[in-house]
Symmetry: C2
Subunit: 456 residues, 2 copies
């Protein structure tokens, strides 16, 4: 019996138009990655669960898609275990493999497995889908692409500079105005240390982040609520009210953090990075020191980056930072790295909203030959071969059906040129070329047709 087909919730089909736009995004990012000396790798969609489990916290373990073992997946399970119905515990008995949850853990695994073949510093990029068994909602999918670029095996802050420039270049190419925000984990640590609240970093940054929305008094109230003593809150005031240029912010921080070695180190790193970026001529997009940036706080150890679109209300569209122990969990300590991840789905939403796709990005058929019968089609196909030889994406309508249907096909596919060969054209060995945008028609020779379409 016929089924009414559907796809799993949280997954998507991509139509030709959507694919053309997505390809434009991926190609643009990929080109910039190459321009900055990054090389592409790919890892398998499936990893051993032993590689994935425990890397994303308990919540992450639950969100892994697990693949049932082939053959007798009951093997090795006692009746007692089965009847316990302990789903989380037995998952690793039924399943040895899972779909990758991000590109970072597979990359760490890759670096360790291929350490002897890799020329360090390793500048790799990776554009692949990842899967998460999250509750699907608007803008959140169970299968989505990540575009990551990382440099591992180098401590140099020039890598941070390069990443900032690369982010700047990507969004210039897209024509999207963004603010590149930078913070440093060491400054946040210094801050918490300075007020004697090292364990409250997250609470502090979350509260400070609300200044614009709820005002100073409410921020201070929230800090008190989180158990931070009044004395510490008092010390934080210059940081909460931090404003001005990056230089002014750093000057204030230098005073506030004068007593903490870690904090001063963080300030020094920020200054170094900002100075070099400036010496290189600066960024086209805004580059802003933002102490409220705390993404991946447990993970990042130095610079933290985030990119916000200026003309569209949407969360962060890229983010990254410096980490110090990517591969330690796989037995290879001391590998420092810094990376950036571009959020392809959100960038897609931004480009859609701002309608920023270049016309030629929708890489489709440029020329359709209408089909009026065998002899006419045969002549058309010879001309079509010449057009393709000249690099023109071309097709002939395969069936000799009504003109109206064929023109509707050209419109649906947004084909800009249609070539018509009827009886009289065939006799003259010419074609009527119709410009679908202007409606203009002209009778041309095959050579004229090819050069006319080629020129547009």
């Amino acid at each position: 019996m016929a089924q009414k087909p559907s796809i799993p919730k949280g997954t998507r089909d991509f139509s030709p138009v959507e694919m053309a736009r997505r390809n434009y995004i991926f190609n643009t990012i990929r080109e910039v990655f190459y321009l900055y000396g990054f090389q592409q790798i790919e890892t398998p969609s499936m990893e051993n669960l032993s590689t994935l489990m425990g890397k994303y916290g308990d919540e992450g373990d639950k969100l892994l898609f697990k693949i049932q073992n082939s053959g007798d997946y009951f093997k090795g399970l006692t009746d007692e275990e089965l009847l316990s119905r302990n789903a989380p515990k037995l998952a690793s008995k039924f399943c040895e493999k899972g779909l990758r949850y991000d590109l970072t853990v597979p990359f760490a695994r890759f670096v360790v497995m291929h350490r002897d073949e890799i020329a360090f510093p390793f500048k790799r990029f990776q554009i692949q889908p990842v899967w998460r068994a999250d509750r699907p909602q608007k803008g959140r999918y169970r299968e989505f692409y990540q575009c990551d670029a990382d440099v591992v095996g180098s401590d140099s802050l020039l890598n941070e500079v390069e990443l900032i420039q690369m982010i700047d270049t990507v969004f210039q190419k897209f024509g999207v105005r963004v603010c590149i925000k930078m913070n440093n984990r060491k400054i946040l640590s210094g801050l918490a240390e300075m007020i004697g609240q090292a364990d409250k970093i997250v609470d502090i940054t979350v509260a400070i982040d609300k200044l614009d929305k709820i005002g100073l008094d409410n921020v201070n109230a929230e800090l008190a609520e989180k158990g931070i003593p009044q004395e510490s809150i008092q010390k934080l005031q210059p940081v909460i009210m931090l404003s001005g240029s990056n230089e002014e912010k750093l000057a204030t921080l230098k005073e506030v953090l004068a007593g903490t070695e870690t904090g001063l180190k963080g300030i020094e790193e920020c200054e170094y990075i900002l100075n070099i970026v400036k010496a290189m001529g600066g960024t086209k997009n805004e580059l802003e020191l933002d102490l409220t940036l705390a993404r991946g706080l447990n993970y990042y150890t130095g610079a933290i980056f985030e990119v916000k679109a200026l003309d569209v209300e949407i969360g962060s569209i890229s983010g990254g930072g410096r980490y110090d122990n990517l591969t330690g969990v796989f037995g290879m300590p001391g590998v420092s790295g810094v990376g950036i991840s571009f959020g392809a789905d959100r960038i897609y939403d931004v480009l859609n909203q701002l309608d920023l796709y270049p016309k030629e990005a929708v890489n489709s058929t440029k020329l359709l030959f209408v089909n009026f019968g065998e002899a006419e089609a045969a002549f058309s196909m010879k001309v079509m071969a010449q057009a393709r030889q000249a690099g023109i994406n071309a097709e002939v309508f395969p069936d000799n059906t009504k003109m109206k249907k064929q023109m509707a096909y050209a419109n649906a596919k947004q084909i800009p040129f249609v070539a018509i060969v009827g009886e009289s054209e065939l006799q003259e060995q010419k074609l009527t070329l119709k410009n679908m945008t202007t409606g203009e028609q002209q009778l041309v020779t095959p050579e004229e047709l090819v050069s006319a379409v080629k020129a547009c």
Copy 2:
């Protein structure tokens, strides 16, 4: 504790060099698909098991990778069912989703779901991985890419002509000499009908296929062994010994199959296709009518295609054909289609063996700036910005380490140009440009450097 990481058997990591080569293959095929008017779609990696099960035979069902339901996957299962340990039967209780096994079934599902948005005839291509829980062996993987192009919603044989030309174009671009083999299911049906052995088509084609290896007597013996009566075998002799040009073969077949309507229809189709291809100027690669071609016999209803590489011993590297009921199983009858699938992994092996990758296909860094310290690096980075502006893939070595290590890095990444800025270069605001292929060095201005590298 540190784990020693590994990847699931039958899966692969792709290194930067492998990725560059694979991208060259995919990009080449994609460009030709566009040239012929095909548009790309993508479908989710996971499909509902109800979409996949029963489409690939019992063996195929076993080879599906199934994804364990999230949360309490024991829900709805009785103790009795659990203790039955009936793995195949319970799979659909533990799992609602599976990884796609090919691109054809998801495509059929796509056509049915999006029928109202699609402009028919729908010329779609799809380049995505598929997964099969097959026993891994040399050249057979559990995750591999398929590259499919199909036209659905058109009966016209011009589609077959176009596919043949497209195959011809793809392998011309690769520089690989191939034989494009064509058969027609209707001829095979007519043949079996003619000798009164309609159910033995596969046995017959398999036996005929061995003529070159085992000789006529053994072929006839094998046919007899399969239960085909002597009288029928006698009738088959002209077909087994079929040789000569395509025209000669068709002439022989016309005589042999004179009494079967289906057979004659198949001959007519082949003649029509071959005639138009010829009228268009023929193919650069050999195009051969081959009656032993029987791939997907239960699936194809008209033309059958297969491509063999001429200079490498390897199985078929592409294949396809005409099918008449792609979407019937999903409740949309009468959709005819014809398609071709390029075997990316085998094409990769062929290009490797024949060493046919163009140099520029390995799209890597073209220019490395050696790092001799802060001031030198700052000057280098300014020049690097100019180089990138000119479209040159460039990078600076991020750490100020030994020259030897930096040059080793350039060699490992096969970077063709290295720019060196030491104290004296810095003073002159010039750079020493080293050609890593010839070993030549010259002192140049930033502008000279950019145009010298750009020109190569």
